[in-house]
Symmetry: C2
Subunit: 339 residues, 2 copies
């Protein structure tokens, strides 16, 4: 079973549901591309041969707000495409079994025009019956690996990632290779599972953050500061790596073509059009909400909190860094069709 790191949703000021602005922006940026995929590429006649129900899945839905916005948008695009009032929609919200589905269910809009289901489980395994899903959506989720590649923790491996917490920032190419290899294995599982579940002609849009440089390095250096101050054992940092890989269009193309169950209808790497002035502090609080589960899981809550607090304190430095690196962070959009 894949490792899971529940998103921080303790209802505090730093909780995910109050700090998912970055993910929301990524979602908003991809809105038109999702709509275009539905309007231009989806063949409803093939899919709806024997029923009037369209089944939609959001994979990695987390506790809510962004997923609800995305699903509303997908349903609206499907309605606009297929002007038929007898069409019914069933949306399956999926995330790890440790996700707070109670919070998600309680935030569902009353006036929704779809039937709701929550589906617990890793999207690297099967989640749905064969040929039962018509449209899959997943935003800011597939960059989470099922686990960290084990070589990173192995002193004897050339991919040992000593003193670092990610491939980004590491100069050791073997570290990057280990991440790529894990990503390819995971994606193969992901595509095989979806190939069984999605009807012929059904579609899948995947949206993933893309970066060649990463704000997360700042968390790594806060951890190393704690080591240098004698507050944290270095071996604890060596035994920790972030299970995230940011796939490039080339990475995705390679795994999809090898898998061969899906055709690529569109693949695009985009960068925010306007030079959005992000408040570094808000961004770090956002990242914090995402990473806290992983950090607490490994270091315990005291070190996790101190790491996050220290990183947030460096917001001026991060702000300068962000201006210099703005062009390195974008998002990958990919629309696939089940052959």
């Amino acid at each position: 079973m894949a490792t899971s790191f529940p998103i921080n949703d303790d209802d505090s000021a730093y909780s995910y549901s109050k700090n998912s602005q970055m993910q929301r922006e990524i979602l908003d940026d991809s809105k038109e591309m999702v709509r275009d995929a539905i309007i231009e590429k989806l063949d409803m006649k093939i899919m709806l041969s024997s029923s009037n129900t369209l089944r939609i899945a959001d994979l990695g839905c987390s506790v809510g707000p962004n997923s609800l916005v995305a699903m509303q948008h997908v349903v609206q695009a499907l309605k606009d495409k297929y002007h038929d009032n007898i069409l019914e929609f069933q949306v399956f919200f999926n995330d790890h079994v440790t996700n707070d589905f109670n919070a998600l269910f309680r935030s569902l809009p009353i006036d929704r025009s779809y039937y709701v289901s929550g589906v617990p489980g890793s999207f690297y395994d099967r989640l749905f019956p064969s040929r039962s899903i018509h449209f899959v959506h997943s935003s800011c989720a597939i960059h989470w690996l099922s686990k960290c590649p084990e070589e990173l923790f192995d002193e004897k491996s050339p991919a040992w990632n000593k003193g670092m917490i990610h491939y980004i920032g590491s100069s050791n190419i073997e570290v990057l290779n280990a991440y790529v290899s894990q990503f390819e294995k995971d994606m193969e599982m992901f595509l095989n599972a979806r190939a069984e579940e999605i009807v012929e002609g059904g579609m899948m849009v995947l949206i993933s953050p893309f970066t060649s440089d990463s704000l997360m390095e700042f968390f790594g250096s806060s951890l190393m500061d704690l080591v240098n101050e004698g507050k944290l054992d270095e071996s604890l940092v060596d035994s920790f790596n972030l299970p995230m890989y940011f796939p490039s269009p080339e990475d995705m193309t390679k795994v999809v073509e090898k898998n061969d169950y899906f055709s690529i209808e569109r693949i695009e790497l985009t960068y925010p059009e306007s030079e959005v002035e992000h408040d570094a502090k808000i961004l770090m609080i956002n990242l914090n909400a995402i990473l806290q589960g992983v950090l607490i899981n490994h270091f315990g809550s005291k070190i996790a909190e101190e790491t996050c607090a220290r990183t947030i304190l460096r917001s001026e430095e991060i702000s300068a860094w962000m201006k210099a690196n703005a062009e390195k962070s974008g998002q990958l959009f990919i629309a696939l069709k089940r052959k």
Copy 2:
């Protein structure tokens, strides 16, 4: 929207998941009848015209243990009937949006042979797309009304239920009539919703406790004791009634025949075969776990706790009462087929 009273699942010694023995016995008693309904009455050819997936719903699943046992049992019976390995099962666990779905999901067996979905919402409303469900199961749930009939609270109504908390124990026939009328309205909604959702030839088994006398009277008298001791305002008791009606075979037959979408394949009122010696204290703790949500909602937690504690203290008296009234408590089983 129907009123909901989340089951007590605070993981305490009195929580529902640790105190659902009564519901488990009702379930065990009906096990063979559920199996018979599947083996003898279900026509798989009609249902599975275009897919290999059987969709099963458990309505009023609560936080788990009994529902998981029931669904395992239903899936096994379906497998035994239809010896075909390509058959897939998708189970929809339904309960109010306030139900603890997180607890349910975390207690799912790893080796289950069905796909899981959680569906939040009142079963008096629509829950699923049209013609999407093959088999509905509901145990110990349909006796919960969507709300209490309003006449019970109305001083000017002949059905005003002064000083009482239920129709059982009241000598006023208008009180009973008000409950029956609410039950009929609710069941009409229930059957209409299911008639849309269940495929032609699909089946529904409903299991409900039946009693003409009730342990709950003891809770009522504990509440009145608090009134007599000046610890509770009588108007608070007058403005409270338990939203439960225990339908008889005649009640069910009447609503099903009027509704006309379902045929009755079997209807039976059964009483425990062996004279099970129930420990009154355990039974009261069980009832307490069920009623606490309703009581806290109306009286606040302090009075609710005191009422339950006082009632549990009377276990010897209740024990004697139970022996004298054993033959009055049974369970109603009904198997319906969508015409």
